[in-house]
């Protein structure tokens, strides 16, 4: 095992007995909390069948949850698909040899990383309302995607940059020795290899994006999954069960994405001799806005 087991010895009889005691004490504490929560929920009648039956009703899924989920997934997919090329350009721009490219790009990237996504969404929402004729039905989606693209392009720029920098220097040196131009080296030597390193980081960023779409439902009136939840709990007066169901849907999707990311990482790090790993702090830190 890893460091975890280094912190303590293989338990002897005394330690085993102590661990059993700890397990029982901690287990009882957990049970007490669970009991307290159960009593609280029960006292407010949250276990009544009427609270939960709406989720057995096909109409609720057809009219509320599935359309909401569809918009959430659509917003996340659009955001990553649009943000990726921007991110690639910004990331490569930050590696440019020309100061007049590198510095402005760095300023743009750092600026958008420093601003909350919600601020960007509010701005985009108001901008579309004032200066375009996008109807109020679609404006929420547009605002969400715009905000997410602006923010995530800068985050992905850092992912791309870290991915390219993680490649061994010999790769570009060999390409230079073959007489390739800078653009050729980037496009046909560095990027294809970097994509492999970056993909897990991009997938984890997709988790962040998916969570951030919920901001849209709450702040700029996008008809996403969270908004569906608000409508359901308004209709059936069952806020607690609704949030549990909605939360579970988000958790399942995100766990699947995380699982896919780690699967890719494992498969690819086994394949090649030394696949460098990108640890992009941005992707971790931006546990972000949701």
């Amino acid at each position: 095992m890893s460091t975890q087991s280094v912190l303590y010895d293989a338990p002897g009889p005394k330690a085993k007995a102590r661990n059993v005691v700890y397990t029982i004490v901690f287990g009882l504490a957990l049970l007490a909390v669970a009991w307290f929560v159960y009593r609280g929920l029960d006292a407010k009648g949250q276990f009544a069948a009427a609270m939960w039956t709406p989720f057995l009703d096909a109409d609720v899924w057809e009219n509320f949850i599935l359309p909401g989920l569809e918009l959430t997934l659509l917003a996340a997919a659009l955001s990553i698909v649009i943000a990726l090329p921007f991110g690639a350009v910004l990331g490569i721009g930050r590696l440019s040899e020309h100061r007049w490219v590198r510095v402005p790009v760095a300023v743009v990237v750092e600026f958008f990383r420093a601003i909350p996504v919600l601020i960007l969404m509010i701005f985009a929402n108001q901008y579309y309302a004032d200066y375009t004729d996008i109807g109020s039905d679609n404006r929420g989606l547009y605002a969400v995607v715009t905000g997410l693209v602006l923010y995530n392009a800068s985050v992905l720029a850092e992912v791309v940059r870290a991915g390219i920098l993680s490649l061994p220097k010999g790769q570009s040196e060999a390409a230079y020795a073959l007489g390739l131009r800078k653009t050729q080296i980037m496009v046909s030597v560095l990027l294809p290899q970097a994509v492999k390193v970056m993909l897990p980081a991009i997938l984890s960023q997709l988790v962040v994006i998916l969570k951030d779409t919920a901001l849209g439902g709450a702040a700029v009136a996008a008809a996403d999954l969270l908004r569906s939840g608000t409508l359901i709990s308004g209709n059936y007066n069952n806020a607690v069960p609704t949030y549990i169901v909605i939360g579970a849907i988000y958790v399942v999707i995100n766990l699947l994405l995380t699982w896919a990311a780690s699967l890719l990482q494992k498969r690819w790090s086994r394949g090649s001799r030394s696949t460098p790993q990108v640890t992009v702090t941005a992707a971790v830190g931006t546990a972000t806005a949701a």
Binding site: F111, I115, Q126, I246, A289
Partner: protein, 224 residues
């Protein structure tokens, strides 16, 4: 832009700062406890730590914050302020938001600290155990102090993310910066200047945090 004096910009950003600081302290404490659970010799604690982190981290913060107000407070009647007090809703929702941010951000603090524990060389823990220190002592006296020194920079990233995340509190009506911005851009015509002003406010809050903590992180990191 002479309407600026009508709005309490500094007050709104002050609420943002308060939300950030209180949630940061809370999540540092809860996150460290979670990290200790995740490396402990008791399987049940490890299981609980892992389950908590994987569950809470994957729920959108917006859902957590909305639930704290609509579910926890309105439906289940959990209130964190005196009902008869003047301004009950503001105080209650502010505290609910801090609670939500703490529960959510703690998962990222936990993961940062756990990765820090992994950077401490095996020899340190082995030497501690050779001296006869138990798990608690090894963790408290030898491993955690070194681990914390190496995770200042990752924790700074978590803190910056938290600062930006506090804007989510606006969805339950906490009067912080983004709520004021939403109100201002709707009522005033100067969309771009107002947005730039608020963006600048957040840059001013987050940029020094990153620079100062990054510098401290390099200073205190254990040189190996």
């Amino acid at each position: 832009m002479d309407y600026l004096s009508k709005y309490d910009l500094l007050g709104a950003f002050w609420v943002t700062v308060q939300l950030t600081v209180l949630s940061a302290v809370g999540s540092l404490v809860w996150g460290t406890l979670l990290a200790a659970m995740r490396v402990s010799p008791v399987p049940l604690m490890r299981g609980f730590g892992t389950a908590y982190v994987n569950l809470v981290r994957n729920i959108p913060l917006t859902v957590i914050i909305t639930f704290s107000a609509v579910g926890l407070s309105s439906t289940l009647g959990v209130v964190l302020a005196d009902k008869n007090e003047h301004g009950f809703f503001e105080v209650n929702n502010f505290r609910l938001a801090v609670l939500g941010f703490t529960l959510y951000t703690a998962t990222f603090v936990c993961e940062a600290i756990r990765s820090g524990i992994n950077t401490v060389p095996v020899g340190q823990a082995e030497a501690a155990r050779a001296l006869g220190l138990g798990f608690g002592q090894t963790l408290r006296i030898v491993v955690l102090p070194q681990a914390l020194r190496s995770v200042v920079a990752p924790l700074a990233n978590v803190l910056i993310a938290l600062t930006k995340n506090t804007t989510v509190a606006s969805v339950i009506g906490v009067a912080e910066a983004s709520l004021l911005m939403a109100e201002m851009v709707e009522k005033q015509a100067d969309l771009l200047p107002i947005s730039a002003l608020f963006a600048l406010g957040f840059v001013v809050l987050t940029l020094p945090t990153g620079l100062v903590l990054g510098w401290i992180g390099r200073k205190v990191a254990v040189k190996r």
